[in-house]
Symmetry: C2
Subunit: 345 residues, 2 copies
DNA sequence: ACTGGATTTGTAATCGATTGCAAAATTACA
DNA sequence: TGTAATTTTGCAATCGATTACAAATCCAGT
């Protein structure tokens, strides 16, 4: 590769100073149209390309945003990535991926990157914050961070989320409206706020419908297919098996359906199952999964848009934006089995 | 946030020059242990953090690699991301995401970023190259690019891939060994090399098994669930429906299974279906999908490792590494339906 | 004590842009 | 035409590190 042309070369060729070149190329109003053209022509002739590194050093920005997740291979994130990416690139930002694997040390590293200016902002989807990190010092103003998906309590940061509690209620109401009375909930890990919110929604909806929650009706998994299978097995090994399952995410619902099938139970004839998230495969699962859909692309877009606001203003009120969820009724839920039939057996 | 301390501040406090500070902090052998300690102490006291932007400008590196895909929300990429990320971070590189959406202009942009030094290397998974881009000029030596997943012909670049043709053969052999003779193949888009390789494997295996391929037995989809459904419908609307389907990826297999079910055909009793990729849901699909598994995490790791080699050596022989695939037999494939039974109907 | 060679340190240039301030050029107006 | 006001331009500092080269220091051997 031939030597890269720099602003200095253009200056020489165009017969102006480097300052003028810089101004001309950045459309500053401080140059005549004539010189601007002259400089542009020279730049083209020399095949000039801006050195982004140099500029970023000078203007003290990195034009990059960090997207931090706890597990990069969780398919749920995919469309969020897409939404974030679209807005980011439109604004001239590149996307840096961060993957914490739930390791606090790694999480802290990404906060360091933010503090060190390797990124101008961060979209955090891990549900936790590194304790006492300098970036979070309130004295230094609102850090350019948007928390998405998983809420973090009392952190004074901007949030983009869904109303998990309300969505869970809606799921339970759907089952109740089909006549189900024995509805169990496969929770996510309860240390996570997200999981608790969904469970709370389940509890409230059950109370409102006047339904009891037996002690074993809230097994907790870890959002994996395997854990869904295990929780389902536990429920049906006990002596008061439910007729409907509300799983805290689609993967656990898949696991549960697999386990039900293994036991010779039909979905939805014998047991109804509803998930949460609406993964791309849920629609074509068999049976197609009834679930709660989150506007993922939109969540990503919104989060990135908020982040741009914060970066631009450096002084944003910590807002929380709530996105709408939607109940998608497919074929994994159906009428509650007729009590008489069951007792007749 | 208080003013950032720079190397100059440390120099002042430690009573040495900035050059010495730089050397001490980078473990250069050019400083005494005593001064090194002195400098370290001062740096700690002042809470010093290296300005990565400044260093990168000076050393002419960006310590970033670009990971370019054609569609960021394709779940297939997830584990590759993970593998790449693990190796990259271990080597101190950050990951920049690139998403082309099959737009040549966007693809060219990422190549520009590489040329402009915004990234030190690139892992390309799009199956195409922007024509005549400066980075690819052979005169400038081997560019730091590793092509993964999707081959690019005759480009002189390093590749990490699987033997698609052999894997496809293996899939077909599996079906043939179960007694199937009417085996159809749902192809991917044929402009893509990848799709053609898999189809070639299908053809070769069919020939070797002495089986005919009727004209309509190679419908082409676009790797989406919907297209799998459509191709399946076309096959079964015709007058010589197959007893086994080999789909070029799992998603199309899902679509096909959905369509078969809709038509009242059982999998695998009436029709066997085999996919390709082994997505994370395939194992728990119903029926669990027989498929070809690619070592995705490993592909990511290997690609990134190769890229580091190239970046380090600036002079690598363009190698092609072939990763091993594996036939995963689950429950979507079974013995061919008995001919007598069928004709007896 | 002195010389030569090996270590350690410092000075200042450099990476490639942006930008404050001053100087030059242009325009406006009397 | 002369002067003030306004626009354009250029000089040089700056962002914060790294590093070539020179200078200083140290040590060994005579």
């Amino acid at each position: 590769m031939s030597e890269r042309t720099k602003i200095k070369d253009i200056a020489r060729v165009a017969g102006v100073s480097t300052a003028t070149v810089s101004r001309a190329l950045s459309d500053s109003a401080l140059v005549t149209d004539a010189t601007r053209e002259k400089v542009r022509a020279a730049a083209n002739r020399l095949n000039y390309r801006l050195n982004v590194r140099a500029r970023n050093l000078r203007i003290q920005k990195s034009m990059a945003v960090l997207l931090v997740v706890r597990n990069m291979s969780n398919p749920f994130y995919l469309e969020i990535f897409k939404g974030v990416e679209a807005v980011a690139r439109a604004a001239g930002y590149v996307l840096l991926m961060g993957n914490t694997e739930d390791d606090p040390a790694r999480e802290a590293e990404y906060f360091d990157m933010l503090r060190d200016g390797q990124a101008d902002g961060m979209i955090l989807m891990t549900g936790t914050l590194p304790e006492g990190h300098a970036v979070l010092d309130p004295a230094s103003g609102a850090p350019p961070i948007v928390v998405a998906l998983e809420a973090v309590d009392d952190c004074g940061l901007a949030h983009v989320q869904i109303d998990n509690c309300a969505a869970a209620k809606q799921a339970v109401r759907h089952l109740a409206s089909l006549g189900h009375r024995k509805i169990a909930h496969i929770c996510g890990p309860l240390p996570e706020i997200l999981s608790r919110l969904r469970r709370d929604g389940y509890r409230k909806a059950m109370a409102k419908a006047g339904l009891e929650i037996p002690r074993n009706y809230e097994p907790a998994g870890d959002y994996s297919i395997q854990s869904g299978r295990a929780c389902c097995a536990a429920l049906f090994d006990a002596d008061n098996p439910p007729t409907a399952l509300f799983a805290a995410n689609d993967e656990m619902a898949f696991g549960a359906i697999g386990e039900l099938r293994r036991r010779g139970l039909r979905v939805p004839e014998d047991v109804s199952v509803i998930g949460f998230d609406d993964l791309f495969v849920s629609e074509s699962y068999s049976p197609p999964l009834t679930t709660i859909s989150q506007p993922r692309v939109d969540i990503g877009r919104t989060a990135m848009t908020m982040l741009l606001d914060i970066i631009g203003a450096r002084q944003s009120v910590p807002r929380t934006i709530e996105m709408q969820t939607e109940l998608i009724v497919r074929q994994s839920t159906g009428k509650a089995p007729n009590k008489l039939e069951i007792s007749a057996q």
